[in-house]
Symmetry: none
Subunit: 168 residues, 2 copies
DNA sequence: AGGGATGCCATGGGATTTCATGGGAAGCAA
DNA sequence: TTGCTTCCCATGAAATCCCATGGCATCCCT
């Protein structure tokens, strides 16, 4: 089964804050949860990040384990490690996908990103980002404005291998 | 059940100094108390640390046992061991979670961190930190400001692996 | 290839349980 | 007594469980 997310999807949010996880994404959560087996509920981690985040980020168990390990490998007490722990341990929640294939987003998190009627999922490698359809539209504009001076017809793959530490 | 804390939560502090331990955290205290069984009260240790601490730190019994062992393995009489004993033995208290899932914080401790109406819990690996909502907000800003080139909107994971000086 | 059956999937709703929180009354110390 | 604790109960709100339905895609049989 697939081990990475690909694609995007828009779903409804009901009055109880329930959000149906599109089946293709559910499969990824299942196969990346080491304790999962048919009939069980796939576990996952919701990272909601600091105050300014307008989205949630859903991680498979395996992806989160990798992150936990990387953080644990950083020097104790370093500012970077403290900040990462604050975000990925402090500003995160463990949950599971319910028997009907839905995720229940606690009221607090819904309010944080202004989630009401609809939720927009978009793949990001080994995690899935959740936006309101409106704020995702803004985000997309922001992203496009960041695209460097790509010559018309340039191949994005030319970026592979180049790495700068932060984005702008 | 989960053996590590994840997430954060804000709760009320009532006139009697009672603080409800959010259920997800209570489960961790239960499963990390070797003597606990259904119906019993989970034990824990409150570390309030030195004068400058603006938070309390709540440890499960198992986590505290580990710390005790590590301290016991240090050379007797060393300055480091004395300091650690002073904090984790001298400036700490054993308590339990009451039948309603609440922790009663002695007045002395509430005064120490200025706890009045609300308490903010945040996970820190195998312990839980307690702040006033106000001082936590400051702490969070401090954490962010310590990481030099962390720009708003950047992906925090870009920090993975980068490790600089320790904080003060 | 057509058409029906089957199964999966997104969505909805009612009933039940858990949870955070508030308050009264009984114990205990100063 | 007066002021803290400790125990027990009450309550509204939120979360969870369980079942229902209609649409869509897939499979299978003819």
């Amino acid at each position: 089964m697939a081990r990475r997310f690909r694609g995007s999807e828009e779903v409804k949010v009901d009055a109880k804050g329930r959000v149906s996880i599109p089946a293709k994404f559910r499969r990824v959560f299942e196969s990346c949860d080491p304790d999962w087996s048919t009939g069980k509920r796939p576990q996952m981690v919701i990272v909601f990040g600091t105050r300014d985040w307008k989205h949630l980020q859903l991680f498979t168990i395996e992806a989160m384990n990798e992150i936990d390990d990387s953080i644990a490998a950083m020097p104790r007490g370093s500012a970077e490690r403290n900040l990462l722990e604050n975000i990925y341990h402090g500003h995160a929640e463990e949950t599971e996908i319910d028997g009907d294939g839905r995720l229940v987003l606690p009221q607090k998190l819904r309010e944080k990103i202004g989630l009401a009627d609809g939720a927009f999922f978009i793949s990001a490698g080994d995690s899935l980002k959740v936006w309101t359809p409106e704020s995702y539209a803004e985000e997309e504009q922001r992203l496009e404005s960041l695209v460097p001076d790509f010559e018309p017809g340039a191949d994005p793959l030319s970026l592979l291998g180049s790495a700068s530490k932060t984005e702008g």
